[in-house]
Amino acid sequence: MRVPIGWLRDYVDLPDDPQKIADRLAMLGFPVEQIETRPVISGVVAGRITTLEKHPQADRLQVASIDIGADAPVVIVTAATNVAVDQVIPVAVAGAHLPDLTIEPRKMRGIQSEGMMCSAQELALPGEWFEDGIMQLDADLPLGSDVVAAFGLSEAVLDVDVTSNRVDAMSILGIARELAAAYTTPLRAPSFVQPAPTDAPAGDLPRVTLESADCKRFIAQRIADLPAGPAPSWMRIRLALAGQRPVSAAVDVSNYVMLETAQPLHFYDAAKVAGRHLVVRDAHPGETLLGLDGIERTLDDRALVVADEREALGLAGVLGGAASQITATTKELLLESATFTGARVRRMSMALGVRTDASSRHEKLLAPALADAAAARAAHLLWALGATVYAPQITGAPLCAPKAIDFDARSVERLLGFPLEDAEIRRALQALGCTIEPLAPGHMRVAPPAWRTDLSIPADLVEEIARIVGYDRVVAVNHAIAPHTIESHDFHVEERLANALAALGYREIVTSALHGARLFDILRRAGLTPSHLSAEVRNPLSEDQRFLRYSLAPGICEYLARVDAPMRVFEIGHVFMRENGHVAEVPAVLFAFTQEPGDEPAWRDSGFLRLKGDTQALVRRMTGVTPTAARDRRTGAHPGKSAAFLIEGREVATCGRLDPRAEVAFGIRRPTYVCNLYLDSLPDLVIPRYVPRPKFPTTYRDLALVLPLDVESARVAEIAQGAIGSLCIGVHIFDEYRGPQVPPGRKSLAVRVTLQRNDATITDEQADEAVGHAIAALERELGAQLRT
């Protein structure tokens, strides 16, 4: 919210330095986003044009004589066309500084011009919001008075953040009230008393009917004989500084009062309200309304409207209608100052997609008392401009004071950690407008002021007290935490996992959990189908954030394609699947690497073996158990180069070469290897137990076995181990060969069998005999032959 400091000073005495004011506001809970300083302008005074003559030498120039309250008038040559005798205008006299120029006397076509008449633009106001030409000031401005000082044109404008609980402070007066309390200085609030109503005959006063409980209070007031022309210049300049475009006297008064008090008003052209009857009701389904914004909307009964006897005139608290809007020819208006249910206004504003200054205030908890105050203020301002004001008609529940709160002074210490004397508590709360009735020492009954709707429990008052005495009073202390039994297990699993993957040489990345439909195109191009149904966001900000990821793989693949260099990465994050009507969410872990293609035969893939090694090491680190690997096929993986890892029959990981079609579809230009770890299936870490090895020496035998191509290494190891029994402490397959040295359809495996006795040194004969059993079993079961 834009807060011109010059306007604030009307209500409260403040330090000169805007930064000081901003700092104090921040410590009251109103952070200042920006301090907009105004350009330095000096030497501009109010003057009245006394004579105006055509320049004898120039058709398009005029020579004005201007009374600036000095002994002699100032003569100014001007090209402006909107000037006339008796106008009061801003005059930049010789020596004046304007944002872009310094004024000096100069001859214009033979006549000495001693200054310049100023436009709004020249006074650093938005030129298009004011007269085209010289700015018009109010006739009652003392001639020669400093225009910059009179209108606060040099004062900075603060952009203040107001939290949603403080709708009362979405106003200049609200901010002034806070500062007055903080500086313990009096507040000069304007009068909120209705002007004495006209004694003209009442005539046909408006009628109001509230058909919906969502209107709490409705003040209607007939105001006639509206002034023609613009609002006074002080009001127009204030509105402009606050960022509101001046329109006409009546509209400006309504905006001015809203900015001043936070209460939005609406003015109807009285002649356009059928039956002079205002009805607050639910919209009829199908009813249409052309808004002030030029948009016609079709309504349903969720909308709350203010209607006359014929049709809806406006959306209550949100937007007026075009049909009943006041115009330059409006002679008489009906003022509306109302309180609606915030939730209703908010829902309507969201459903219809229309947000206005009014709705952003009405949707919060505006105090009903503000409706009365704002009506009175507007009536007063219009009356001062010469309008005829009739008595207000108030409909709705009677005003009741906000509920008083029984306050125990000890709650200050309980919540803030430091005690306060009753007197200090009273001072702080009274400064904010609370009324206090002492009950007993340390006890009081606190009645919040009428404009505050956010104070209802003692904790609310504690915050108010803290704001005034200063949050700096809170002293940092340490607490002793009592033992409690909440587990940090999941976090530590994740932490260990991340550390283990980093130790294996993978870098952690974080990718987006939201993706677009493009992923499905990529999968389709690769001939793949998604492994799960995706959960979908209803209100994505952009199309590439429509779906929740069901796997970490696509994000990592896109990343690897983008980086386009060999990389080893991992990600830990949640994935989401749509499963019969609900969204399943599971933690997922994925690591992957790309490497330059190697020079190796098609039947060997060292990238896979490396990935398998990392997978087994990781699982061992996490569980204490080495998982077994088995051939696996699933979508996304190369069908011949993928494995599942099992612990006691439970799948804990799958890994493999990425389907080459997916690599191409994602745009990855290197072989890619991916492992999925299933965190939910991973057993807890088994603390390893140390088993001493027998102290007797080991021996080994190396065998070259020729086997059918489809025999898997694990089977060879298993049979050898089984045939020898406990004497065999390891079967290690350390090489594979395929090629001309072995018959077609066969391969050769190099196998080392390691043997050891736990009671004596094993002899060569014992070793040979044991290995002989193994060879026999391998021949029998797998058709293996010893290669010679």
Binding site: A26, M27, P31, T163, S164, N165, R166, G342, R346, R347, K364, R414, G417, F418, I457, A459, V462, E463, Y471, V474, V475, A476, V477, N478, H479, I481, H484, T485, I486, E487, S488, D490, F491, H492, N499, L501, G505, Y506, R507, E508, I509, V510, T511, S512, A513, L514, A535, E536, V537, R538, N539, L541, L548, V563, A565, M567, H574, F576, V583, E585
Partner: protein, 344 residues
């Protein structure tokens, strides 16, 4: 000259010649075998004592032994000299130590996790547990239970991604306050880190996907000062021993009183008017905090008369920006290899 003396002289000459020829360890061994071995020349000489003139025989054994010992010693000297020579040659070698290293395969943790681990380490040391929770939440946990009823204006501040009328991606980690308190009775001391999502347009300061860390301490007698003490400790742990913490009033429906928490700018300590990190104010905003609202305590079945508590929710990205001088939050989701390498 006696025959023995002649023989010994001749032996010595041959030994000296062989020794001079030997220029490595193996050659020295050969010399030893040839002269001092089981069937070497010294042994041959010893066996020939019987053929010496009778008067020479009595002292011959000792003389031969002495000669053998002397040869042994010379062999040892030669061996030592050879060793010295090898070392000298090796030590004379020199390489270009500025030549680029052979790079190890290095892994790393994401900067977000690194900050998070630092924060968690601090809180664990102070007796807090670390809890994790879902990212897709029913609106009950995100709003209603946190004193943000339907139509509450504060809902607007949480521009959330909705999956259905009631299901959304959590826009903050505060649902974990409710989940934790519903599961446990006081005292409760937890922090809850995790991903959050908001419909924010991405720029240097905003991401639609970000991380928060929630803190919650509920026990009898807990007040604002405890919150300040804890956060002061956290800031000093993360940013240095001179950090200060400041509370500013603010508004959150689930805390009362509420505060925005600032810490002193660790880069300029408020002395640089053009400081990029703090804009010259000397303070950096960390996030929101406050005393848990009585309605929230009641919602989870706690008695606001007997226990009180504080809670906070900070952005982890922001803590990282401060800790690592990161200029743009988008870098967290870009994972540029150079970024990962520098901060890993």
């Amino acid at each position: 000259m006696s025959e023995l003396a002649r023989n010994l002289n001749a032996l010595d000459e041959r030994f000296a010649a062989a020794l001079a020829q030997a220029d490595d360890e193996r050659a020295l061994d050969a010399v030893r075998v040839a002269f001092l071995g089981r069937s070497g020349e010294v042994t041959v000489l010893r066996r020939s004592i019987g053929r010496l003139p009778a008067h020479e025989r009595p002292g011959a054994g000792k003389e031969i032994n002495d000669a053998a010992l002397a040869m042994e010693a010379r062999l040892e000297d030669a061996r030592a000299a050879l060793q010295r020579h090898i070392f000298d040659a090796d030590l004379a070698q020199s390489i270009d130590v500025t030549f680029p290293a052979i790079a190890p395969v290095e892994g790393s943790l994401h900067p977000i996790r690194r900050v998070l681990n630092d924060v968690c380490a601090y809180f664990e040391r102070r007796g807090f547990s670390i809890v994790l929770g879902p990212e897709v939440e029913p609106d009950y946990y995100v709003f209603d239970a946190l004193n943000i009823a339907t139509d509450h204006p504060a809902r607007e501040g949480f521009d959330s991604f909705f999956l259905s009328d009631t299901l959304l991606l959590r826009p903050h980690t505060s649902p974990m306050q409710i989940r934790t308190m519903q599961l446990h009775t006081p005292p409760v001391a937890v922090i809850a880190p995790g991903k959050c999502y908001r419909r924010d347009a991405v720029d240097a300061r905003h991401l639609y996907q970000f991380n928060q860390i929630e803190g919650l301490l509920v026990a009898p007698g807990i007040h604002f000062g405890h919150l300040k003490g804890t956060l002061l400790g956290m800031c000093r742990h993360l940013f240095g021993p001179d950090q200060q913490v400041r509370f500013r009033p603010s508004y959150f429906p689930f805390t009362e009183p509420s505060a925005e928490v600032d810490t002193t700018c660790p880069r300029c300590a408020g002395f640089v008017t053009q400081c990029k990190m703090c804009g010259g104010s000397g303070w950096i905003e960390l996030g929101g905090a406050g005393m848990v609202h009585p309605n929230v305590l009641r919602e989870v079945g706690y008695d606001p008369e007997t226990v009180s508590g504080w809670a906070f929710g900070f952005g982890i990205e922001r803590l990282g920006l401060i800790r690592y001088d990161i200029d743009d939050v988008r870098r967290y989701l870009e994972n540029d290899p150079d970024f990962l390498e520098q901060l890993g």
